[in-house]
């Protein structure tokens, strides 16, 4: 072996006991960062386990144990250890080959862990070509079955749920919109991400407030003992990050910044050469974000973390010929502080306080109208999370409290310079709190069960005026609630149960049943793909959303490959949709009337196979899934498919290490088209053309498919300096995937000649990109 694979860093603790339990951490030997999802096996007893999101593991072993640790992308480690008492060790793994920061699916939970969780970290394993030279967590997640990303859309959809039903925490702060630039990039700069835990089923009781999934991101806080700096220069975006120790082994930091400059370089070229002949539309956009994190190790038992994130997007679309303009700016701001404390080897806790804000400003102009709309949500969140080991079984419990402030609709509309009255802007406030407990019970060596319970409470607070209406909709009374006074309170117990049964060492079946409640609602204001949405609380007239999900699957984990087959059924209650349109807002003093609520149903099956070791690695995943809604007040009460009801979803990834310097990776994805509500015919009323729209989401756009390829050439590979050049080509066969369809009208009724033409808007044609990366 050319390099040292392991070092046992310290033996912290041992007691005189006869039960031999080994516990400890699996870490990266270079930067000391935890490796979640590593597989640890005692070859003597055949017992095994996987490291959790902190890299921690604990399991019973033979006294003459041979511990073998494997983790994708790292060189495997194996050593015989005589264990006479309970032992705590740290195992440092060495990266298999020189890699740069790229996100990859780094593993899933092992056979005997009931939790079905996907871990990602910033170390490269399975390469997927990065869109425009930037690798991305959400793009990576979208290659796993059951997770869909619609091109040009914000966020992602998990198993037939809308994108607001995903809980996204970045260093404990809630991120309300995780997308940049029409979903091309997520807001998470890969350099600023340490690791990601993603739950699409059996969400643990400690995470709540969303129906579909939980994506828990830990920011990169830098290494306590060495510098790790990275710069990339691409055609469309550049990225710079620094991280390292401030005081060795005591304090570290990380700073990352990104900005796209498509507006500075590419758009002027397009406009100069192409625009006039192709389209009347002019568009432009850019995004920027900044992450910073500081970690201070106060002593062996106390650690403090400070983290912040600021990012925003600007998007413009205009058609000077039609005097039409749309301007959008949206973004997130977040800051958090977290204190981790270790009481002893059995009890630890973390306390965190996080603040985050999401905003959207939308300006639309058409002919002589201008409308300026602003919507924001901000949340202050406190969480106290405790972990107690009882007979080696973890018991987790704690509390969570959040204060939400919403400004859903701040509208300023004008005709020329004359202001139209859209009433006062609304500010809403709410308190959300929860207590949770979950315990892992091992019955024998084969069966593990995690029962969990979350009890959540949500209170809408004043100031608020509630209006009482009579049978004909006439306001007859109003009740004024003073500031801080409770208006409405909802509370629900949310039971959860996950279980796994190990058939033999590599084969297992897992199942889960969960009940989740979501108190915040994202209401799309218009049916566009842009983030023109507003957040509203559950309040008088808007009930919390609820979901029951039952899922189960078969999993096979071999050293060289993994296989999984899963199925799920989900029933949702009081899910929300927009009842009207932006222009209805001024009619309604009561903002709750903009929300329609109904039932939802989603079901599907997912299969995936991954070859994870060797020069050539690949993965295939396919999901069949359906997602429907039934609302009394929408689509004449008839059940309709959701916009993102895309029955077929196939994704194939592959990578090949050609030589020490050259590697190639590819991605092919195919999904059914999204559903739109389209006009099916038209008529005239008083000289004007009126559309007759077909059934809601009744028109399916053509299927979406695309292939991406990336070739990487390592220029320098020294221990202190690495550099590479990556050429990636997105949509290599230049398939025109329609993003939006609409009609334009020409001619005039008065002149007895009128034409209507459907237009399809394509977003991304073949997009080559060259990125130069350095790592020092």
């Amino acid at each position: 072996m050319q390099k040292v694979l392991l070092f046992i860093l310290f033996i912290v603790f041992s007691t005189a006991s006869f039960s031999q339990t080994i516990s400890g951490f699996v870490i990266d030997s270079i930067n000391g960062e935890p490796l979640p999802g590593a597989n640890i096996i005692d070859l003597a007893s055949k017992n095994q386990c996987a490291s959790d999101s902190k890299g921690f593991f604990r399991f019973k072993v033979h006294s003459n144990a041979t511990i073998s640790v494997s983790f994708i992308g790292y060189k495997p480690f194996s050593k015989s250890i005589q264990i006479k008492s309970d032992t705590v060790i740290s195992i440092g793994l060495k990266i298999a080959s020189t890699t740069l920061q790229e996100v990859s699916v780094s593993g899933t939970s092992s056979a005997n862990n009931p939790q079905q969780v996907t871990y990602l970290n910033s170390t490269k394993i399975t390469k997927i070509p990065s869109m425009l030279g930037e690798s991305d967590v959400v793009k990576m997640l979208a290659t796993t079955p059951g997770v869909k990303q619609v091109e040009g859309q914000q966020g992602f959809n998990v198993r037939g749920s809308s994108q607001d039903q995903n809980l996204i925490l970045y260093d404990e702060a809630i991120i309300y919109n995780c997308s940049h630039l029409l979903g091309m990039y997520s807001v998470f700069n890969t350099n600023a991400v340490q690791n990601v835990s993603f739950y699409k089923t059996g969400i643990p009781a400690r995470y709540g407030g969303r129906l579909a999934s939980a994506m828990i991101i830990e920011g990169n806080g830098g290494s306590m003992n060495h510098w790790d700096n990275h710069a990339s220069i691409g055609l469309l975006a550049s990225n710079l990050s620094f991280s390292g120790p401030i005081v060795k082994d005591k304090c570290s930091f990380s700073l990352s910044a990104r900005r796209s400059y498509i507006d500075k370089i590419i758009l002027p070229i397009i406009h100069h050469y192409i625009d006039n002949s192709i389209s009347d539309y002019k568009n432009g956009y850019f995004f920027q974000d900044f992450n910073a994190k500081l970690i201070a190790k106060l002593n062996n038992n106390n650690k403090l973390e400070l983290s912040t994130y600021i990012g925003d997007d600007t998007f413009m679309l205009s058609n000077p010929k039609n005097e039409l303009s749309n301007d959008l700016k949206w973004g997130n701001e977040a800051a958090s502080i977290k204190w981790r404390h270790l009481f002893n080897d059995k009890l630890s806790c973390s306390q965190s306080l996080a603040w985050s804000r999401n905003f959207l400003e939308y300006k639309v102009g058409q002919y002589m109208y201008t409308m300026d709309m602003k919507t924001t949500i901000q949340t202050l969140r406190f969480k106290s999370d405790w972990l107690l080991l009882i007979n080696d079984n973890p018991l987790r419990f704690g509390v969570e409290a959040m204060k939400h402030t919403y400004n859903p609709n701040n509208i300023d509309a004008k005709v020329k310079e004359i202001s139209l009255d859209f009433g006062k802007s609304t500010t809403l406030q709410a308190l959300e709190s929860a207590a949770f407990i979950e315990y892992t019970v091992n019955i024998g060596t084969k069966l593990s069960i995690i029962p969990g319970m979350r009890y959540s409470l949500f209170t809408q607070l004043g100031p608020y005026t509630s209006y009482e209406s009579n049978a004909v909709g006439k306001t007859i009374d109003s009740i004024l609630y003073a500031s801080g006074k409770p208006v409405t309170t909802y509370s629900f117990p949310e039971p959860k149960l996950t279980a796994s049964y190990v058939i033999n060492g590599n084969n297992s079946v897992k199942t889960s049943a969960t009940y989740n409640v979501q108190y915040n609602h994202l209401i799309p204001i218009i049916s566009s793909a842009l983030p023109t949405d507003m957040w509203l609380p559950s309040m008088k007239g808007i009930k919390p959303q609820k979901a029951i999900q039952i899922a189960g699957g078969y999993y096979k984990t071999k050293p060289k490959y993994t296989f999984s087959l899963e199925a799920y059924y989900k029933k949702m209650y009081d899910v929300s949709e927009a009842a009207g349109t932006m222009l209805n807002f001024y009619d309604s003093k009561d903002i709750s009337t903009v929300v329609a609520q109904g039932k939802g149903e989603a079901y599907g099956a997912e299969i995936s196979f991954e070859k994870i070791v060797g020069k050539c690695t690949f993965g295939i995943s396919y999901a069949y899934s359906r997602s429907f809604r039934t609302f009394e007040t929408l689509n004449y009460g008839k059940t309709f498919p959701t916009k993102y009801d895309k029955p077929h979803d196939l994704s194939i990834t592959g990578s090949y290490q050609i030589s020490k310097h050259w590697s190639i990776s590819s991605l092919f994805s195919y999904t059914s088209g999204v559903n739109l509500t389209m006009p099916v015919s038209r008529y005239f009323i008083q000289n004007n053309i009126i559309n007759v729209y077909g059934s809601k989401n009744g028109y399916r756009m053509p299927a979406y498919h695309r292939a991406d390829v990336a070739v990487k050439y390592i220029l320098t590979d020294k221990s202190r300096f690495q550099s590479d050049l990556t050429l990636s080509v997105s949509n290599i066969y230049n398939h025109h995937n329609p993003y939006y369809m609409y009609y334009i009208i020409s001619g005039s009724l008065k002149e007895y000649e009128l034409k209507v033409e459907m237009q399809k808007v394509y977003l991304f044609p073949i997009l080559p990109s060259l990125t130069y990366n350095i790592h020092f």
Partner: protein
């Protein structure tokens, strides 16, 4: 750093367009109204395939000229006759000869066309007197301005209003103002003044100013209507604003009061005034 390589390869076609077919439906469309003191007008047409071209070659396929149209109230009944007036589009419509609208009465409509029977009913509410009508010049451009109306809204009921204007000697018919439809939800039982914006004649016409030029003589028709008419016309105005904007369309059909077809049959209580823009 050793070197930075930047090669700009750019074959970007960010937005391009192509045609696509959509299915066809065929429904009968009614655009009918009866003003207090006025005759009943009923325009009948058919919905068309979304992408079909409307011109003189297919005019008679779109416009219904072979229908039997009957209106009645508690004390009168009349079959309307087909008439033609080039001021309107479509120029063919059915008109009453003897029945004129009266406040407080319910008017029934029956249309038999292509073997289908279509029915509707509307009420003409009591008219609303306008307390104050005036022209106010624009602060930035003193050659133009808006017309302001002041009304005393009654408190005991929900009222629905719609405004039309006609510029004397320049326009040969009344056109709905821009954002012509309003209910009293935000001013029930109060005195309110609101501006009238000059209406576009059609949504394919994009050059009209929303202000009235100084020197024009403007006839204002201020109408009351029932809830069903209000709901239709509110949706209609939303469609006017958003229908053509790919980011604004909401995919909701207009709420019609026509049984067996689409469109609207509206009764209006009418107050009419003349304002000189000066």
């Amino acid at each position: 750093m050793k070197r930075i390589v930047e090669i700009v390869i750019c074959l970007l076609l960010f937005v391009s367009c192509k045609k696509q077919e959509v299915p066809i439906t065929n429904q009968i469309v009614i655009d009918g109204h009866i003003d207090a003191g006025g005759l009943a007008y009923v325009f009948i047409s058919h919905t068309t395939d979304y992408e079909s071209v409307v011109d003189t070659s297919n005019y008679y396929k779109v416009i219904e000229t072979k229908a039997k149209v009957t209106i009645w109230t508690d004390d009168a009944r009349e079959v309307l006759i087909l008439s033609r007036d080039l001021r309107f589009f479509p120029p063919h419509f059915y008109i009453s000869n003897s029945i004129r609208g009266k406040e407080g009465k319910i008017y029934h409509l029956e249309v038999i066309a292509d073997g289908d029977t279509i029915t509707a009913q509307t009420t003409i509410p009591a008219k609303m007197d306008v307390q104050n009508v005036r022209f106010e010049r624009d602060q930035d451009d003193s050659t133009k301005g808006l017309i302001w109306l002041g009304i005393n809204d009654p408190a005991d009921q929900t009222n629905y209003y719609r405004a039309f204007t006609r510029t004397y000697r320049k326009q040969d018919q009344f056109y709905a103002t821009h954002l012509s439809v309003i209910d009293d939800a935000s001013f029930n039982g109060k005195y309110i003044e609101f501006p009238l914006y000059r209406g576009l004649q059609t949504n394919t016409d994009k050059k009209l100013d929303f202000r009235f030029p100084v020197g024009d003589t403007v006839d204002v028709k201020f109408c009351t209507m029932d809830k069903a008419s209000f709901e239709f016309w509110t949706g209609y105005e939303r469609e006017m604003l958003n229908g053509g904007n790919p980011f604004g369309a909401d995919g909701q059909n207009l709420k019609s009061n026509i049984n067996g077809g689409i469109g609207v049959w509206s009764g209006y209580g009418v107050s009419q005034y003349r304002v000189i823009a000066k």
